[in-house]
């Protein structure tokens, strides 16, 4: 499960509207929590919008500069936060992971949040957890979103 404050939800959805018709992307920071039954709840405490370095195809591709991620990770560490997931938008495309999304996903155990942005307005937001043991068996699993005040 992904727990996320309402303000963070609004922020990442708005980011997709701001970058439309291009894909937006960003990092979710917070904590991993062991639920005691083998599952993990990720609790988001902050959102870090990033630039999309795919200037060649920003309408259907995104990439976060590792240098930006290192900075975000370092600043998060100073606040006691960890990287628990990422978000990006699909302009005029369903809020479901694509073959490209899966092929390029490598942060096992993290949430990948996708928002469909239809004609400039954020529509559906879904979350998927990347599961598996390595590149050969990785898959996305639908994940519940718990919105908190």
């Amino acid at each position: 499960m992904l727990k996320i404050p309402q303000s963070a939800c609004i922020s990442l959805r708005r980011h997709g509207e701001e970058t439309y018709p291009h894909e937006c992307c960003g990092v979710l920071l917070g904590q991993f929590g062991d639920d005691g039954d083998g599952s993990v709840t990720k609790t988001v405490s902050s959102v870090a919008p990033c630039g999309n370095t795919r200037a060649d195809s920003p309408h259907n591709r995104y990439n976060i500069d590792p240098r930006e991620l290192i900075r975000i990770q370092r600043e998060g560490r100073e606040r006691g936060e960890d990287i628990v997931g990422f978000y990006h938008s699909h302009p005029d495309h369903p809020a479901r992971w694509s073959p490209t999304d899966l092929a390029e996903a490598h942060w096992f155990g993290c949430s990948y949040v996708i928002t469909s942005v239809e004609k400039g307005a954020a529509a559906i937001t879904n979350s998927f957890e990347l599961t598996g043991t390595d590149e050969s068996d990785k898959k996305f699993v639908d994940e519940k979103i718990a919105i908190e005040a």
Partner: protein, 129 residues
């Protein structure tokens, strides 16, 4: 001694440590020391023929080692090596249908004119619409 930052998806293979101090005069030596200490990391960082996986970015402080001397990049005490799996993706034609619950579950929320707004928290849902 250089320190290697371990990304969250790989910490289960590093004894749950977020960072590991590893001796080494070069990046290559430090990474070799890392996988020697934590052998389960090797297959996640390297291909079967011993090359660093294409999606694994290695930074020395804030510099990509590919633009330095790669694994021969010299290290000094206090240097930080960051292992950063790439983050990329994007929509593409023929979106794969994901399985699982697609129906929206809203707890105590009126439907009138809410399609662009979020459920009033606290709410546990499968999808935000």
């Amino acid at each position: 001694m250089p320190q290697i930052q371990i990304p969250s998806p790989l910490r289960q293979y590093s004894g749950k440590q977020a960072s590991v101090d590893v001796p080494g005069k070069t990046v290559g030596e430090a990474l070799a020391g890392l996988v020697a200490q934590h052998p389960d990391l090797k297959r996640h960082l390297y291909t079967d023929d011993g090359k660093l996986r294409a999606f694994v970015n290695v930074y020395v402080n804030d510099e990509d080692m590919r633009y330095l001397q790669k694994e021969a990049t010299a290290l000094k005490d206090g240097d930080t090596i960051s292992i950063v799996p790439s983050i990329a993706g994007g929509c593409s034609p023929g979106v794969t249908d994901s399985s699982g619950v697609r129906a929206l579950v809203i707890i105590g929320f009126e439907c009138h004119g809410w399609s662009r707004t979020l459920p009033r928290p606290p709410a546990e849902i499968d999808s935000i619409q």
